[in-house]
Subunit: 415 residues, 2 copies
């Protein structure tokens, strides 16, 4: 796309209210625009990042056995939440919004809805296992809504619900899902640590969180010496808790982290009260074993920015696959010599942003730093005289790392 | 995908509450599941249809000049709606839900949000024109919520907002958008008629609706003799209204229709009170000219079903490009001989649903009628003896129209 037409220009000055790295850089870069505390618009650049994350999540979820995508409603009728006992639950009341003058909640999570679908559409053990997920905007009361995309009252989430006949079948899927989660986070460039936590308002059983260490993390976790497992602070009494000492020596260290995903074993917490049952081999009705698996898509975008963004230098070096564009073509020539190169790349199907604006070079580079495409191509009189386009990895812009690539070789270079 | 794993099996019996063709067939076919009046889950088949419609809409919108996709929030803070004067507007109060114990509305439409973004991010006439759209779940109070996807309280919509410096620039875009709308509807297999209507709660100016004639349509329109233009009943006094007689002879006929899209000229209705202004060539601040353009994505799915579905025969003959799968491969062989053919088609990138279930042929065909893939392939001992797979267009299943296609020729046949 032509940058001259892109909605959401980069901004030099932004509101003093923004404090976190992700809020500052995503606002300055034209990715997001704040509407109210915890309520955000995704501008075209930001929506592209969200879609990239969604596609990674979708690809990994679709690889899980018996797992398929659907879309449940946002509006949540009181009757099914009364069946589970969560309509009048004080913990849930602190989380779920309600629609004025109706008997509707506003989707904070979808256990009730998923179980309701299950019991309406599945009747035999032969139809199990069944795992359904959706990618949807969710809403939660958040007194401390702030930190850009880390704590929203409205946010984008992937939530998956699994239904198994046996605890063994469930456990097997649970571990497969945990492995898929680690792959998702790795593809998004973040090192997520599987962390034992409480079930909160969802379950009395412990759950597994996926926590990413970062400076504005609001959770404290205790890491094992290898740094690949942790306990959430809420589960232990401190660094000397016997559960941590079980790791058998070495340093247990606390760290600040942000939760980007969680998986919950529910057992029959929802399927007993809501009659989420199937007929088993003997013809008896049995409640099924359920689990839930969430990934905060928009929060993940915030966390990636925290890790790959730098407020002082004004740069976001997006991981490949997350960046809004793979290639940023910057025209510094006096007479628009970038145009045929842009057409050539577009025709070759390259995701390219073309800076065709009449601006000074310094301004264009500052904007390019905020857009953070993995490959930057600079067209100038000097580069053309030298035989092509100056090509550089965006996170490595020291001049001696640049190389001249012939225009005819660009598609190969990009691949 | 394997039909044995598809969530949302076809159902013989459904609730007596459902009355309309689309509610009955989409529920029986496993496309949707009703959660409450006007609140619906889209099961995997239904989500595929929605995604197909979205992609058509997106492709046509992206062809419009200076038009790009973003995502605005569902939560709508009171302050911007007070600026436009619609927070306390009685007409809007009858439409927009509010969140209990907050100062938030629940997104019914996004003029205020779009204008707020515009004024925050655009300052010069040089940045115009600018047109932004989103595809999002919307919420509207709907006392008569019913008819499956035709009248939802929660529904999926594409809404686009245009900002132009001049009325002429706006008019030109408005007509281009109208033409794009007609292309969208044509690609979705529906004949939409451009219809003059009132601006309702959006504008005092008249608007253009896109109406599709069908038996459960709740609007009455008066068609010109050629049948390609109409007035909404609300705008005229009846068949003898002078405005209709201007068509100059021939029969003016009333028809029942459903609105699938609308376009609104706003002038400065929102940009004056909300200061949606730019600096013009002379350095003066001027309010910009605005328009809005909506398409009801989920409603369109309902209308397509009304037109292409038949409750008596239990068939939905989806237009190509809308069907959840392009190819339905039905295995009637006693020993799973469809399996290698399924693998072959999948490897070739064909969107294929494979009926691998252990069911009677009649049951499989009845289900296939509800899924309505444009191409049906039947593998049986008989077809294999005859040299391949029995291929048939799903809407033409009389036995003499069937042909035997060699397995090696299938990809060519499908293309």
């Amino acid at each position: 796309m032509r940058q001259s037409q892109l909605f959401g220009a980069t901004r030099r000055e932004i509101s003093q209210e923004e404090e976190s790295i992700n809020a500052i850089l995503l606002t300055r870069g034209g990715y997001i625009c704040r509407t109210a505390a915890g309520v955000t618009s995704f501008l075209p650049l930001g929506l592209r990042v969200i879609e990239n994350i969604k596609n990674i999540v979708r690809a990994e979820m679709n690889e899980l056995p018996a797992t398929q995508e659907l879309l449940m409603p946002v509006f949540q009728p009181k009757d099914i939440w009364e069946e589970s006992g969560r309509w009048d639950d004080e913990g849930m009341k602190e989380v779920m919004y309600r629609v004025q003058d109706t008997n509707m909640g506003i989707g904070a999570t979808h256990e009730e809805n998923a179980t309701d679908l299950f019991r309406k559409l599945v009747s035999s053990y032969k139809e199990l296992p069944l795992c359904i997920y959706q990618i949807q905007t969710k809403f939660r009361k958040e007194l401390r809504a702030k930190s850009g995309l880390l704590r929203g009252r409205e946010f984008i989430m992937k939530d998956l619900y699994s239904f198994h006949l046996t605890e063994e079948g469930f456990q097997d899927y649970y571990e497969q899902a945990a492995a898929a989660y680690l792959r998702v986070f790795e593809r998004c460039g973040v090192n997520a640590i599987r962390t034992k936590a409480s079930g909160g308002i969802f379950s009395k059983r412990p759950s597994d969180e996926f926590q990413v260490i970062n400076s504005v993390g609001e959770d404290t976790i205790y890491l094992n010496p290898a740094g690949d497992e942790a306990w959430n602070e809420e589960m232990v009494t401190g660094q000397d808790d016997p559960r941590l000492l079980e790791w058998g020596g070495g340093e247990v260290r606390p760290a600040q982290a942000t939760e980007v995903g969680n998986i919950f074993p529910y057992g029959t917490r929802y399927t007993v009260p809501m009659h989420g049952e199937v007929t088993d081999e003997t013809g008896q009705k049995v409640p099924v074993i359920m689990g839930a698996y969430g990934i905060g898509i928009s929060r993940l975008m915030g966390v990636i920015t925290e890790l790959y963004g730098n407020v002082e230098t004004g740069k976001i070096a997006w991981p490949t696959g997350i960046a809004p564009f793979k290639v940023h073509l910057i025209d510094l020539s006096p007479d628009g010599q970038g145009n045929p190169i842009y057409d050539q790349l577009k025709a070759a199907g390259v995701e390219v942003l073309f800076d065709d604006r009449d601006r000074r070079a310094g301004e264009k580079f500052a904007d390019a730093d905020l857009i953070g495409a993995p490959i930057r191509l600079i067209v100038s009189k000097r580069s053309l005289d030298a035989g092509g386009v100056e090509a550089v990895k965006a996170w490595n812009i020291s001049p001696d790392e640049r190389e001249i690539v012939a225009v005819s070789e660009l598609e190969n270079f990009i691949r």
